[in-house]
Symmetry: C2
Amino acid sequence: MNKKENFINKLRSSGLRPTRQRIEICKVLYDRKKTFHFTIDTLSKILRKKSKERISLATIYNTVYAFKNKNYLKEITLNTNKTYFDTNVTSHHHFLDENSNRLIDLKNSDVGKVKIKRKIPGKKIKSIEILVRISD
Amino acid sequence: MNKKENFINKLRSSGLRPTRQRIEICKVLYDRKKTFHFTIDTLSKILRKKSKERISLATIYNTVYAFKNKNYLKEITLNTNKTYFDTNVTSHHHFLDENSNRLIDLKNSDVGKVKIKRKIPGKKIKSIEILVRISD
DNA sequence: ACACTACTTTAGAATCATTATAAAGTAGTT
DNA sequence: AACTACTTTATAATGATTCTAAAGTAGTGT
């Protein structure tokens, strides 16, 4: 399979061994058209359904954080008790639907330029993240 | 004391009984000039130092969430494992210093107008929060 | 193919923030 | 002083995440 090869190359090229578990996780995360927002818990449930592999929770944690370190995933900031991740690692903003607690990506073209007028001496801006809360 | 009276009135006016514990917590939170960003843990430590009252963790949690519901505190969104609160309840934005993990308030005048060009049918914008990550 | 080593996976225990419980204490009212 | 609803509290329970250490596996060299 072409896709599987791609995942294997992707993993190898960043120094991660392409194990069965990691490939299964790649399939869930990257074999889709739209950005995927998830928690460890949701990912775990999807894996249990879609994959024959029985992947332990610890491995899912390990893999997700390994992918995050390799910049294949981005951690998202919300005030919930769980940590969210995003397969869209580009700098972008979000809607948060407070009714469903779902995230929706905003393209950069969806947001006008943000001007930060204040400077902190000796500090550089690393990123600017906007969270737009919406509800019915 | 004038300040203590103020706290008592503030509490009573929102239907919260002015207990010793709540008044001590008010002193820590509101008897200061600048905005205060904190976690339950930091608040707990400050109380242990500054107050003779021995206030239980449960009460600190109860009180902080009671204050949040009365809009005396605001919950802040960061990706850390702990929940942060802010005594500045007005709509405003933050710098997050990634070296020290400290928050710095941005006045609205520090940030240019943010334009959200995309609309989600049937949904209204509740708030727009910007987090500007900075580091050395 | 075989052996070797470093990297991985795993089940289960440990940790840590937060929430729930239910008994004892207290504010405000009569 | 008595009463009732609201509070506080110690403690247990929960739930996400991290740790541990033993068993498994990929990649390399022979």
